[in-house]
């Protein structure tokens, strides 16, 4: 194959590709705060989250051509990040450990527990919510087993749809819904345990 000087069409194509790449990188960087916010709660420490986000962006920038313009870039970045997190040694569990977790208490359980701690008769919801400190929420979330926590973090903190969460975690949507339901109950059970002295 002989090498020839680039044609005008080649030059135009290269320039167009360079512009597309810059647009991609700018858009990805604009999403970095949101990506970090989710990453921070998927892992245990700030250092891990920072490493993970950096690696995810390195990989995303290398494979930017695989992104389909017009689709959800935040979900695409989180998919890369979640895969990296699993590669980093977190064992992927297809069937999460559920036997030891009691979530039969129902969805009113936390409110009922907290309300009983408020001295006033028939307190309003804000007074009940005040029983929970910011730290207790962070700790209670960290104690949710990771299969449930991943879904909880993506949907309730990252505000992803069930469908996006299913795609990011590569699990069926029905599994997202059932893990979310149980994950929220586990979170509330943990909060009740933290807030209410036994």
């Amino acid at each position: 194959m002989s090498e020839s000087a680039p044609t005008a069409a080649d030059t135009r194509r290269l320039a167009e590709e360079a512009r597309a790449r810059v647009r991609f990188e700018e858009e990805a960087l604009e999403l970095s705060d949101q990506v970090y916010r989710v990453a921070r709660r998927l892992v245990g420490t700030r250092e891990e989250a920072e490493d993970l986000v950096q690696q995810a962006y390195e990989r995303a920038f290398r494979s930017w051509r695989q992104f389909t313009p017009g689709t959800n870039m935040r979900a695409w970045l989180l998919r890369i990040l979640t895969n990296l997190n699993i590669d980093r040694g977190r064992r992927q569990q297809r069937s999460p450990q559920t036997t030891s977790i009691d979530t039969e208490a129902g969805d009113y359980f936390l409110y009922n527990k907290l309300e009983s701690q408020v001295p006033d008769e028939n307190p309003d919801e804000e007074r009940v919510l005040e029983r929970l400190s910011q730290d207790s929420i962070v700790d209670a979330l960290a104690d949710v087993p990771h299969d449930f926590r991943d879904v909880l973090v993506l949907v309730d903190i990252g505000e992803f749809s069930y469908a996006d969460a299913a795609q990011i975690l590569d699990i069926p949507m029905g599994t997202v819904m059932s893990r979310l339901h149980r994950g929220r109950r586990i979170l509330k059970k943990n909060l009740a345990d933290e807030a209410v002295p036994t």
Partner: protein, 76 residues
């Protein structure tokens, strides 16, 4: 006989997620209008979800932000 408070408790998560059918939403709303006890718990859950989002938000460090910006392809 249906225990409506129990039914409402079961419907709370899908209700707040917007994943109930129109008939189920009507059913829940009819009960919530009459039942202050359940309505309080629904409102609490809504506030709790918001609080969880706010309480767990940790801003990204300027250092990481700079590292990510440095990954950009240099402009020629």
């Amino acid at each position: 006989m249906i225990d409506w408070c129990e039914k409402c408790e079961e419907m709370m998560q899908p209700f707040l997620d917007g994943s109930l059918s129109a008939d189920e939403v009507k059913e829940a709303e009819r009960h919530l209008e009459k039942c202050h006890w359940c309505a309080k718990r629904y409102h609490f859950e809504e506030r709790l979800r918001h609080y969880v989002r706010v309480a767990t938000a940790e801003p990204m460090s300027a250092d990481l932000k700079a590292k990510l910006a440095a990954l950009r392809t240099p402009l020629h």
